[in-house]
Amino acid sequence: MKTTLTVNGQLRHLDADPRTTLLDALRNHLNLTGSKKGCDHGQCGACTVIVNGRRINSCLSLACMHDSDEVVTIEGIGTPEHLSALQQAFVSHDGFQCGFCTPGQICSATAMLDEVEAGWPSHVSADVTAKQDLTVEEISERMSGNLCRCSAYPNIVDAIMDVAGSAKR
């Protein structure tokens, strides 16, 4: 199945079994192994990537369904030499331990901040018609699709708060 994706700004061509998920395509065909497979069923969020500006679970999507889509993976967010502000905040706040869920957490958080910016409400918003402030409670709820068994959750929240507060994503 021939598929063309724009991944981290680069046009990438793929010819894979139609059964190939977006996650497996990134990892096994395009050698972008930053996105992780923690459950393969949309239950952990380690595979989170940003497609056309939206965060999704790349394990629950077929690569062929994304023909001509724009995909941003952790590798497109920043490199060890040039970390994004969120990536740097994760390091400073120890927003991870084993690091396996971390690329998914950061992709998720990056897109989540855009959702807040767009005024999307959340389950914990007292008033769904209003624009929400980014409280600890709001961040925690919005990041609940990303499991972390080491439980860096409080540090992840601090890292996001730090960056959102200084608006320098």
Binding site: G38, D40, H41, D94, Q97, C101, R149, S151, N155, D158
Partner: protein, 736 residues
């Protein structure tokens, strides 16, 4: 070359305190952090050779019986299928921690539902995944499978060395002014590390290299060699990054052996990652426990007796049993003691180590019982614990190496605002929510395990550490670098730490909270050896030499290390072994938890509002990573208290909720901004770092503080964990 230390006695040299680089103890960022946040840290499945084949395990779908046949022909006919591996070398279950030899092998005998019996290998993952599900097995079930620990047909063992009887507990209970005699249960738990168990095997001639997700490589190498029937020297294991372990990756697992067998047969590298469901079903579970606690106290609340009985389970033939009562013999006073430990042999997924085997569930339950006693005796729960801290280990009659429980209790109570707690349940309301506070003590035994490391100071003045130690999120990269930097007077960026390769000197591995102290000591010893060689070059005594910022300072001379080395490279190996110290004193870490919960008066849902942990674990090597370890442990405690439970079908024992949708790990919204306080402490009996383990302390008893808070909030005492709403809702009636 090698500096060796057998820990027979205290080490009161306090070598780290002589140093001036100022690294140890500081909240230094993880040196590998930038790789982890940018997706560049390479876990087991992240470096696949071009010609790799993919394998997927196939499980047995009976509880007990025989595998009679496999229809491999049909599967081999599917596109891309390369081979089907099965037979006598397949592992029934993972090796237990530090086994150093293969576990039960062979796919013919089925001992539990989900046991891996075959590996289907194909050119692509998609082909292998389908092939594995398409493989038809002919299975013959035995009708007599016992799957519940309480089944009267279950064979129950009582290992002699696990039982303790001191004094007369029955008599103490009779005479007690206040007493508690209750039964409690905790369910099975899964380590549920985010990285599934995975291995990539590749042979070169008679030697196999395995890239895997493992915690204890030196042991894993021996286990893999034994399982394959080859010499250890023909096995190399690589695990530079491990996506969490929590006990589940202590021993070699079925996917590693299957990958190696397949790679051998096909002559190409084979990658096998367990599915999440397989991780649940075929790696270690923490045993469910059935516990009875008896507490006898006099009119002042002083304990006169403690009884702790536990029934746990495991597969036939496994020597591990959850050491539920491990801390009970020495935590509290009481001259009459009875400890009973029973193991039921049942056909469920293998039981093994999950973060803090023993105290995680045993102390949690003891701490719930202590809360019940506090209420009966009308004594504040913090006071009750403080009163009952013994002067020495009351069972073994040996002194404590260090003991900061009282301080942790006081500090925690003060910081949390414990004095604002109304001991009467249901006295605080916040809208629909009952609000309450609870607390518990923390304790975890401390261990030292044989460990080696090599430190190389190269001519350019940079140091390198090599050891087959792992960093499973525990901060090994950070703390080893800090120790070496401190000892050799180098900034972090001048120390490189290489881990996770069995070509390096064998380490303790990561487990039982002993990794940092054991392997850190090996690094310290290696550095001491290098310092000895530097002194020789400088013709001075160690006490007269200061190393800082890449310089040696002797007297009034300050010389760049590069110049001291003058083209030489110095190598120092450190080797530490446990010795008589662990028999002379009782070594443990201590702490306290304080929790505030809301219990919904309508639904019985519990949500944690605040939580504080205060911990003393000897010298803290890195304030940042140590705090993170405590956060992680406490969150395991939140899961244990509120949501985590392996559900087994009562008829065939199969694990019903084998995924993350239905085995409920805490999510971000379940975890408030937990506070962690680390107390200053040194334990000179533990090791030359005066540091003790901290990776597990944070889970030991944590759930107890939450369950006790539920009681204080709404008056419902939950004795069957987790405290899901169905356990609470019946008790809410009188409230509304």
């Amino acid at each position: 070359m090698t500096l060796h230390l057998k820990m027979d006695d205290r080490d009161d040299r306090y070598r780290l305190d002589d140093m001036v680089q100022g690294l140890v103890g500081t909240p230094t960022d993880r040196p590998e952090g930038k790789l982890k946040v940018s997706g560049k840290a390479s876990y087991a499945m992240d470096v696949l050779p071009d010609d790799v084949c993919h394998g997927v395990l196939v499980r047995a779908t009976i509880t007990h019986g025989k595998l009679r046949d496999l229809d491999t022909e049909a599967v081999r006919a599917l596109p891309g299928i390369r081979t089907v591996i099965t037979g006598k070398r397949m592992l029934r279950n993972p090796a237990q921690g530090m086994a150093g030899k293969a576990p039960v092998q062979g796919s013919d005998d089925i001992a539990y539902f989900g046991q891996p019996v075959a590996l289907v290998v194909a050119d692509t993952l998609e082909q292998a995944r389908h092939g594995a599900l398409a493989l038809r097995l002919t299975l013959e079930a035995k009708g007599d499978a016992v799957v519940n620990p309480h089944d009267p047909d279950a064979s129950v063992e009582m290992p002699k060395k696990e039982q303790v009887l001191i004094g007369d507990l029955d008599e103490a209970m009779k005479k007690a002014a206040f007493s508690v005699d209750q039964h409690y249960t905790t369910p099975g738990h899964s380590s549920a590390a985010m990285e599934p168990h995975a291995s990539v095997a590749h042979w070169h001639g008679d030697s196999v290299t395995l890239r895997g997700s493992y915690q204890m490589l030196a042991y894993n190498k021996a286990e893999l060699a034994d399982a394959l029937g080859i010499s250890e020297k023909n096995v190399r294991i690589l695990a530079p990054y491990v996506g969490g372990g929590f006990g589940a990756k202590l021993g070699i697992s079925p996917e590693a052996v299957a990958a190696a067998l397949a790679s051998k047969e096909l002559g190409v590298p084979v990658a096998v990652s367990m599915t999440r469901q397989q991780v649940f079903e075929t790696t270690m579970r923490r045993s469910e426990t059935n516990q009875r606690i008896r507490l006898a106290a006099d009119e002042n609340g002083l304990l006169t007796g403690i009884g702790h009985e536990a029934l746990v389970s495991n597969l036939p033939g496994e020597d591990f049993s959850e050491p539920v009562t491990q801390a009970t013999p020495f935590l509290y006073r009481g001259e009459n003691r009875e400890i009973v430990h029973k193991i039921a042999r049942i056909h469920r997924t293998c039981a093994g180590s999950v973060r803090a085997p023993g105290e995680a569930v045993g102390l949690t339950v003891l701490e719930i019982a202590m809360d019940e006693l506090a209420e009966k005796a009308g004594i504040d729960p913090v006071e009750l614990r403080k009163k009952n801290i013994p002067d020495q280990d009351p069972t073994d009659q040996i002194p404590f190496s260090s003991h900061a429980l009282a301080e942790a209790l006081d500090e925690g109570a003060r910081r949390f605002g414990w004095d604002k707690r109304n001991p009467k349940p249901r006295s605080t309301r916040d809208g629909e929510w009952f609000v309450g506070m609870g607390m518990a003590s923390a304790v975890r035994v401390n261990m030292l395990i044989e460990s080696k490391a090599r430190v190389t100071l190269s001519a350019d003045g940079r140091a390198m550490i090599e050891t087959d130690m792992t960093d499973i999120g525990t901060g090994t990269y950070a703390i080893l670098g800090q120790i070496a930097g401190e000892m050799l007077g180098l900034p972090m960026e001048d120390v490189e730490t290489r881990l996770g390769d069995t070509e390096f000197p064998p380490a303790s591995g990561s487990g039982g909270s002993f990794g940092a102290a054991s392997n850190g000591t090996a690094v310290l010893l290696g550095c001491e050896e290098i310092r000895r060689q530097l002194c020789k070059k400088l013709n001075c005594e160690d006490a007269d030499m200061t190393l800082k910022g890449g310089y040696a300072i002797v007297g009034n001379k300050r010389i760049a290390l590069r110049d001291v080395l003058d083209g030489d490279t110095l190598v120092g190996e450190g080797h530490v072994q446990p010795g008589k110290a662990e028999k002379k004193v009782r070594q443990a870490t201590y702490g306290s938890y304080f929790a505030e919960v809301g219990v919904n008066s309508v639904t019985g849902e519990t949500r944690l509002r605040r939580m504080l942990g205060v911990f003393a674990a000897g010298r803290i090597l890195n304030a940042k990573t140590a705090r993170s370890q405590c956060l992680g442990g406490m969150t395991f405690g939140i899961g244990m208290a509120l949501t985590e439970e392996l559900i087994h079908d009562r008829r065939d024992g199969h694990m019903v909720n084998h995924d993350f949708a239905e085995y409920h790990l805490p999510v971000n919204a379940d975890v408030p901004q937990i506070e962690v306080v680390l107390l200053e402490e040194r334990d000179e009996w533990a090791n030359p770092l005066q540091a003790k383990g901290i990776g597990e302390l944070g889970i030991c008893g944590a759930a107890g503080s939450i369950v006790n808070a539920i009681y204080n909030a709404c008056g419902v005492r939950v004795r069957q964990l987790p405290a899901t709403l169905d356990k609470v809702i019946d008790g809410l009636d009188e409230a509304t």
